[in-house]
């Protein structure tokens, strides 16, 4: 969960707010004060992971006030908040290589400079699509962060150690919904099957290696190495839900080299619109 701090317990509604210094959602101290400056390769890897979290958080944020029940407004909001926290840490770290802030990277890069995977760019769709996307991505992220905790890069290891606990909850949340939708009503089962088959073409890209990974031995986690654990983790859930792994299209992907789905440009346009209308302003 993102850390939200106020400067005082702040129960006194008659306070004149003379000394307001709301210190909210601060980044972890080790990130701000740490001596570590990312190398170009590490920064690129941090962008891979940071952009995935940012794009997914942006999508989940759009559910808040539109979810099927109030409890899900809260739950999807929690997941989005966790992901935005991971994105901020990772983008902050990536920015140390080129002296850019998390916001410079989030708001002032254009589409080809983003490194997100196509799966996180896929639209929310109905609740089943959002859940299928969450199910795939959070299981992947859990396996990733579990291993990244042992990274030779202390900053990446620290971010992963915190993120893995949160992603574990996301994994459980999406698993519970996959079971309910797959085994609820005929309609929900049909929707779950459709959603899984719509999202599955984007799974392969997640586990594709790149020369960047060769250069970051011991620092990055090799995506292909996660596939067996991912398959083993989702298999019992799919079995219990009586769902089969869809066969069919495999999307060619390309997010890691800046070749994105058609959806990303719209998502960025919305996310960046206000900031770009006021260059140099602070918020």
């Amino acid at each position: 969960m993102s850390e939200i701090k106020a400067d005082a317990p702040a129960n006194d509604h008659e306070d004149a707010h003379g000394h307001v210094a709301v210190d909210v959602s601060t980044l972890d101290a080790e990130l701000i004060e740490g001596p570590s400056q990312a190398t170009a390769d590490i920064a690129e890897y941090a962008l891979w992971l940071g952009d995935d979290s940012l794009v997914l958080a942006q999508q989940l944020g759009a559910w808040i006030s539109r979810a099927p029940e109030l409890e899900e407004d809260v739950a999807l909001g929690n997941v989005a908040l966790d992901l935005i926290g991971h994105a901020r840490s990772l983008l902050h770290y990536a920015g140390t290589a080129t002296d850019r802030s998390e916001d410079d990277l989030a708001y002032w890069r254009t589409e080809p400079d983003f490194r997100s995977l196509h799966i996180v760019e896929q639209p929310n769709g109905d609740f089943a699509h959002t859940i299928a996307r969450q199910f795939i991505v959070s299981h992947y992220l859990f396996e990733l962060y579990s291993r990244l905790r042992a990274s030779a890069d202390a900053t990446l290891a620290a971010i992963a150690a915190k993120a893995v606990k949160e992603v574990d909850y996301h994994r459980d949340h999406s698993t519970q919904w996959v079971l309910r939708l797959a085994q609820g009503t005929d309609e929900s089962r049909h929707r779950m099957i459709t959603a899984l088959s719509d999202l599955w073409p984007y799974v392969e890209e997640i586990f594709r290696d790149d020369t960047l990974i060769d250069r970051l031995e011991g620092i990055a986690v090799r995506p292909s190495s996660l596939r067996p654990a991912f398959d083993a983790a989702i298999a019992p859930v799919l079995a219990e839900a009586e769902l089969e792994i869809p066969r069919g299209f495999v999307a060619s992907g390309g997010g890691r080299t800046g070749n994105h789905s058609e959806h990303l440009a719209f998502l960025l346009a919305e996310m960046q619109v206000l900031t770009r209308a006021h260059p140099g302003a602070s918020w």
């Binding site: 509604h13 004149a16 908040l81 916001d103 609820g184 929900s188 602070s282």
Partner: protein
């Protein structure tokens, strides 16, 4: 029944032991709990107030969620998400408090989406600019806190306790709103204009949140006698304006009331005439966003029906399976 608690009654009326106990609890500033006897009017009045409050939290998510995807920095995006999420949580506690009085969540939800239940009119105003996230926090949540802090001592236990938690979070909401405006007022000329324009739009509607003037507030006297409500509308409104004036000075924004002035005699800030016609128009469903707010709530509810049905069917199948296992 009401004659026993209306303060100016003189004729003695025979009342039951339970009713006497209820009156004694109210008199002693104690809490009424769900299993205690209570007059039907007290129960109804509470269900009305608590469910309206819950609906306000839920509808109130919309004007702010409007900016989640466009928040101008990642920090602001995180804070705004957390805030809107808190509001969903407040709605949930309040619906639970109303459930302790026998109301069901389905009935309350149906009344809301059918347009039969009230919620705070303030949320029928639009949020065309980012600065509105600041004004909602500073003015709307500020007014809500003035209204709600006394409710922490409301005579009905579950309501009072829910309000304690809600007020703590609202206080953070108000601060973050103030901080958004402060940052804008210290920013570029365009940002300062954005902030002032937003304050101009939200100031009067925020003052109307305290409800009609005391001499025109039909439910107030009884609620005060029952200690559901502790201060009058005008009293709370005055308290709020007294609080705002120095805060506006810190911000450097102008409150859009040319008649606002300090009254040396009363040591209070006297305010100009409130345009109650606008209040009644919005209340009557002729505000800027009434239709849109309800439509969004209804769409979310209707589009989510299949998900809720799936969850219910799954739970039913699971419990049938458990029973089957137990029978073997």
């Amino acid at each position: 029944m009401t004659s026993t608690i209306t303060p100016d009654t003189s004729a003695p009326v025979a009342i039951s032991v339970e009713e006497q106990q209820f009156n004694d609890l109210i008199e002693a500033d104690s809490r009424i709990e769900p299993r205690d006897w209570m007059p039907e009017g007290y129960r109804k009045s509470l269900v009305r107030q608590i469910s309206q409050h819950a609906h306000s939290e839920i509808i109130g998510m919309q004007p702010e969620s409007n900016w989640i995807t466009r928040a101008p920095s990642l920090k602001r995006k995180a804070i705004l998400m957390a805030k809107v999420q808190d509001e969903a949580g407040h709605g949930l506690y309040l619906y639970s408090a109303a459930q302790t009085l026998g109301a069901t969540r389905d009935d309350m939800t149906d009344a809301l989406i059918a347009g039969k239940a009230r919620y705070s009119s303030i949320f029928n105003y639009p949020t065309p600019s980012w600065a509105d996230m600041g004004s909602i926090g500073w003015l709307v949540d500020g007014a809500a806190i003035c209204n709600q802090v006394p409710l922490c001592r409301a005579s009905y236990g579950p309501y009072g306790r829910a309000m304690v938690r809600i007020c703590k979070e609202e206080s953070f909401h108000q601060r973050q709103g103030f901080e958004i405006l402060l940052e804008l007022m210290q920013g570029t000329e365009e940002q300062r204009q954005m902030a002032q324009d937003s304050v101009n739009r939200w100031y009067w509607p925020a003052l109307m949140m305290f409800g009609p003037p005391d001499d025109d507030s039909p439910n107030s006297a009884q609620s005060m006698a029952w200690k559901i409500k502790r201060h009058s509308n005008d009293e709370l409104r005055q308290r709020f304006v007294n609080m705002l004036v120095p805060q506006a000075a810190v911000l450097g924004v102008t409150l859009p009331d040319p008649d606002l002035h300090f009254n040396e005699e009363t040591q209070q800030w006297d305010l100009g005439e409130i345009d109650w016609t606008e209040f009644h128009e919005v209340l009557a469903g002729r505000g800027p966003n009434n239709a849109q707010r309800l439509q969004r709530r209804r769409d979310a509810h209707d589009e989510g029906a299949w998900v809720r049905e799936a969850a219910a069917a799954y739970a039913h199948k699971q419990s049938a399976r458990t029973e089957e296992m137990a029978a073997k």
